[in-house]
């Protein structure tokens, strides 16, 4: 079966938009016509951990029952009192507080009291549904009470095709689930020869990566973390430039559940990564560690949405990246501290290193706050290598250009060292070799502890 051309205009949308001239409110994903739907996916899931297709829906429905029990519906008298209060407010304040659309929508979702309605994924419902359609059968990883499960899924891009996996993780009470995702291009697509940056050169003329796309690879992942469970997700992406990567995630946490997500985005001409989390259970937490590299004419889009519903919930979003060549990146991160989430803490921090003149970086770190007993903070540092760092490196005989390249290869090198498995490491090394010739030699002997930069080694030679 072949795809028809589809455009998703409101993919990876920020919950609270800002000025349209900033062109950061949402992303546009174009699915070209004529791609085969041909998922090339391999999954390693222990037989006892293969769940039923509706495992996630059932878990969410059970969570709804528990939530309803803990949060009973207001009585008719309370509803009447609330309506009277709102009417009085409207009279006294010129029709009530003039909420923005996003503020009114947020209130409507809370009033609906539906966990299913509140559940969302980072790239958005439409794109998620499309990936699920393209993926076919869903991979369901289910861990029972107190079990420890490790699973992995590998998605390989296919030239002229869309290759996707739809995955659900349902971590039962007190269980531990570790899921490794690897999205890779084992074969060289034609676009790599014509449109990508030449081997060893990071700079490249800007190009519309979407136009050059010969393939789409992606994953759509839903995670239900039940009370006291621990879920670790590691996703590494090493696609070639002719491929569009779509990484769509949605998470739900019950009481004291902890989820960590580590994303490494090294390849793909255009990549979209979106993560939305509903920290519903008290004392549940989320840590997201994102590392990315943009070079040549690559485009990166990240969208994070963390909704703090539960008391004393915590999230910590970290993103570190390097942009070189004429690459572009947009990172939108929203921490939403919802009324009732007393004691919640949300933190986000991004560091971006800009290496070349032609790069473009957009960062939109948003905090929405409807509760006073919370702490939210965000920070961003965007810029070049500090002059004292450059001076130090120059005193060691490293020219500025070489120092800049060293920071680029360091991102890849660290990703290779932290790779979740051998297959992922091979993909990272293959990509590293293309960016910095000689990179692969660092890992020839399988010594993941090598710390010397490929470019530094090249100079030494």
């Amino acid at each position: 079966m072949e795809t028809q051309a589809i455009t998703f205009d409101r993919a990876s949308a920020m919950p609270a938009p800002t000025w349209h001239f900033m062109k950061s409110n949402e992303a546009r994903i174009e699915i070209p016509a004529g791609l085969e739907i041909a998922p090339d996916v391999s999954a390693s899931v222990p037989p006892l951990a293969r769940g039923a297709a509706d495992e996630f829906e059932n878990a969410l429905a059970n969570a709804q029952l528990a939530w309803d029990e803990e949060h009973p519906m207001p009585t008719e008298a309370e509803l009447a009192e609330r309506a009277a209060f709102l009417a009085a407010e409207a009279d006294a304040t010129y029709g009530g507080t003039a909420q923005s659309d996003y503020q009114a929508n947020a209130d409507a979702i809370e009033e609906a009291r539906s966990l299913a309605m509140a559940f969302e994924t980072g790239v958005g419902d439409e794109v998620g549904a499309y990936l699920r359609y393209a993926a076919g059968d869903r991979i369901v990883v289910a861990a029972g009470l107190g079990e420890a499960i490790e699973a992995s899924v590998c998605v390989r891009a296919v030239t002229g095709a869309i290759s996707a996996a739809a995955i659900d993780v349902v971590a039962g009470e007190g269980s531990t689930v570790r899921l490794k995702l690897h999205v890779d291009s084992p074969e060289e697509t034609p676009a790599d020869k014509s449109n990508g940056a030449p081997a060893g050169e990071l700079a490249g003329a800007p190009a519309d990566s979407a136009d050059a796309a010969h393939a789409i690879a992606g994953t759509t992942l839903r995670v239900f973390a039940d009370a006291g469970s621990t879920v670790d997700i590691v996703r590494s992406q090493t696609l070639d430039d002719g491929v569009i990567d779509i990484d769509d995630m949605g998470l739900f946490t019950h009481k004291r559940a902890n989820v960590s997500v580590c994303q490494t985005v090294l390849g793909a001409g255009t990549s979209f990564a979106g993560l939305a989390a509903d920290l519903r259970g008290a004392e549940s937490g989320l840590v997201v560690d994102t590392r990315y590299l943009g070079h040549g004419s690559q485009k990166r889009d990240f969208n994070y949405i963390v909704r703090h519903h539960g008391q004393k919930t915590e999230c910590n979003l970290k993103a570190n990246g390097v942009l070189a060549g004429a690459s572009e990146k947009t990172l939108k991160a929203t921490i939403d501290l919802i009324r009732g989430a007393k004691g919640a803490q949300g933190s986000e921090r991004e560091n971006v290193l800009l290496v070349d003149e032609g790069v473009r970086n957009k960062t939109v770190p948003v905090i929405l706050c409807n509760e006073d007993d919370v702490a939210g903070n965000h920070g961003a540092t965007i810029g070049h290598i500090r002059s004292e760092q450059l001076f130090y490196l120059a005193s060691r005989g490293l020219a500025q250009d070489a120092a800049e390249r060293m920071f680029v290869s360091a991102i890849v090198e660290q990703a290779a060292i932290d790779a979740p498995g051998e297959e992922a490491r091979r993909g990272i090394v293959r990509l590293g070799e293309r960016i910095a010739p000689g990179f692969a030699e660092l890992f020839d002997d399988g010594d993941a502890g090598v710390r010397t930069s490929a470019l530094e080694s090249e100079e030494d030679r």
């Binding site: 409110n25 029709g95 507080t97 905090i367 706050c369 006073d372 702490a375 939210g376 903070n377 070049h384």
Partner: protein, 470 residues
């Protein structure tokens, strides 16, 4: 443990600002917005033909542009019910004794003549759509400084200069209410500071909107030539009505090479006001703009002063505070464009929300490819005084060059119980303790204001803090 209770106290009398006079003597055009109304405004002002053309073109743009979809709702504002031009029953005067009693009394109660006598180099006072008073000290006039009504200046020696600059920083195409302003603007000030002239005392314009259901659309144009220095203060208020009023002014500032301009605003519109104001400044080489901004009133506020650093090593600083209480949705912040090498900007804002009010900090920092070696820091702190209110922070950065240093920090939270406890243990009541803490929170802004305005701001905070014990 006993459940913590929240005491609510009604807001105290805002009579300092909330008084009004009958506007029966004023001349009003029909409510709504039509080409005929626009033509009539232009005709009454005996404007040059290019201005009428500009107005009509702006009206067309207004009709064509959609309202923005990202900010507070303005559904309660029906332009068909807004009177865009209200002329008070007087011409512009240059001594207070000639101003009609009711208008003079208004400005007396707001302390404007007293401020003029005490520490200002000049005052402009606008009542509804027209300036009713304009005066500048002789010493300032002798320095070559021009401070007059902009309409008056349109007929004088600076007419060509005004035509060259008018609505070039804020074109009518910028947004719907910039277009509205272009169509129906009326009143406002023109300031020209010649090269090398430094004025030690501030100039002030005060805008009072008295008429019910009216709009105020004053235009302020300030040109500070190379090596010159000016402090300009803007104040605004209105009585409270039970229908919507609209303020859609525009402020265009041009700062020359090595020149310096400080633009201070204490905005205290009544809580039925839609404040959709636009302010923009362009700085040439090594020029400096300092914005000091306090936003307290309005039902809905959209306010983001913009600094365009177009010259090498130009600098901008923005220091702002926004206080949103019951029934208010104030969306404020700033925009910075780093458009030349070595430019720098710093933004420090404080936001406070209480009693169901919504306060949003929104900003943009854009570094163009020409901004090599530039830097910008943004610091934003928000304080929530109860769990009924809302405080959002929406900053955006777009960086298009390599050698820049851009930093952003923001925090959000509430007054720590330990701090209140400490003050109460020293014999301070809870309400006083919270007011003291909020005043301390706002101190970085109030210390930048002239003493009299800092006192006014602290009084406004005290006023807003009444009933905020929680």
């Amino acid at each position: 443990m006993a459940e913590k209770t929240r005491m609510q106290v009604a807001d105290i009398d805002r009579s300092l600002y909330d008084f009004r006079y009958d506007d029966a003597d004023a001349e009003k055009l029909d409510a709504g917005l039509t080409p005929d109304i626009v033509r009539e405004i232009s005709e009454r002002k005996d404007e040059p033909a290019w201005m009428l053309e500009h107005r009509l073109k702006s009206l067309q743009i207004y009709n064509d542009i959609e309202m923005s979809d990202w900010g507070p709702s303005i559904d309660g504002l029906d332009m068909d019910n807004i009177v865009t031009y209200v002329k008070p029953n007087t011409e512009q005067k240059s001594d207070w004794e000639s101003v009609p009693d009711n208008i003079k009394d208004t400005f007396d109660r707001l302390g404007i003549p007293q401020a003029e006598r005490s520490y200002l180099a000049g005052v402009g006072a606008q009542y509804d759509s027209e300036l009713v008073y304009h005066s500048m000290q002789e010493t300032a006039a002798k320095m070559g400084i021009v401070y007059s009504g902009i309409e008056e200046a349109l007929h004088g020696e600076y007419a060509d200069l005004i035509r060259e600059k008018f609505m070039t920083l804020i074109p009518p195409t910028d947004h719907k209410f910039a277009a509205l302003h272009g169509a129906v603007w009326s009143g406002g000030s023109f300031v020209y500071v010649p090269k090398g002239v430094k004025l030690d005392y501030p100039l002030q314009s005060y805008f009072r909107l008295n008429a019910k259901g009216a709009g105020q659309f004053e235009h302020t144009l300030i040109i500070v030539e190379d090596d010159a220095d000016l402090h300009f203060i803007e104040g605004c208020s209105a009585p409270k009505y039970n229908v919507a009023n609209l303020h859609a002014g525009a402020v265009e500032l041009f700062v020359g090479k090595r020149a310096h301009l400080r633009y201070s605003t204490i905005e205290n519109w009544s809580k039925n006001m839609y404040n959709l104001n636009t302010k923009r400044c362009r700085c040439d080489e090594e020029g400096q703009i300092e914005w000091i901004s306090g936003s307290f009133g309005s039902h809905v506020g959209y306010l983001y002063p913009m600094s365009i650093l177009a010259g090498r090593k130009a600098q901008a600083s923005f220091t702002g505070i926004t206080f949103a209480g019951r029934g208010q949705n104030l969306d404020t912040g700033c925009k910075v464009v780093l458009a030349a090498p070595g430019t720098s900007a710093s933004v420090e804002t404080k936001g406070i929300s209480k009693d169901g009010g919504i306060q949003t900090f929104r900003s943009s920092v854009v570094a163009t490819p020409a901004a090599e070696g530039s830097r910008c820091t943004v610091s934003c702190q928000s304080l929530m005084l109860d769990d009924m209110s809302r405080s959002d922070t929406i900053p955006a950065m777009d960086i298009r060059c390599k050698n820049v240093d851009i930093g952003h920090e923001a925090t959000i939270g509430r007054i720590g119980d330990d701090k209140v406890f400490y003050l109460m243990s020293r014999g301070v009541s809870e309400e006083e303790a919270r007011t003291m803490i909020v005043n301390g929170f706002a101190e970085p802004i109030s210390k930048e204001l002239p003493l009299e305005y800092a006192v006014e701001m602290n009084n406004l905070i005290k006023l807003e803090m009444e009933g905020a014990i929680g």
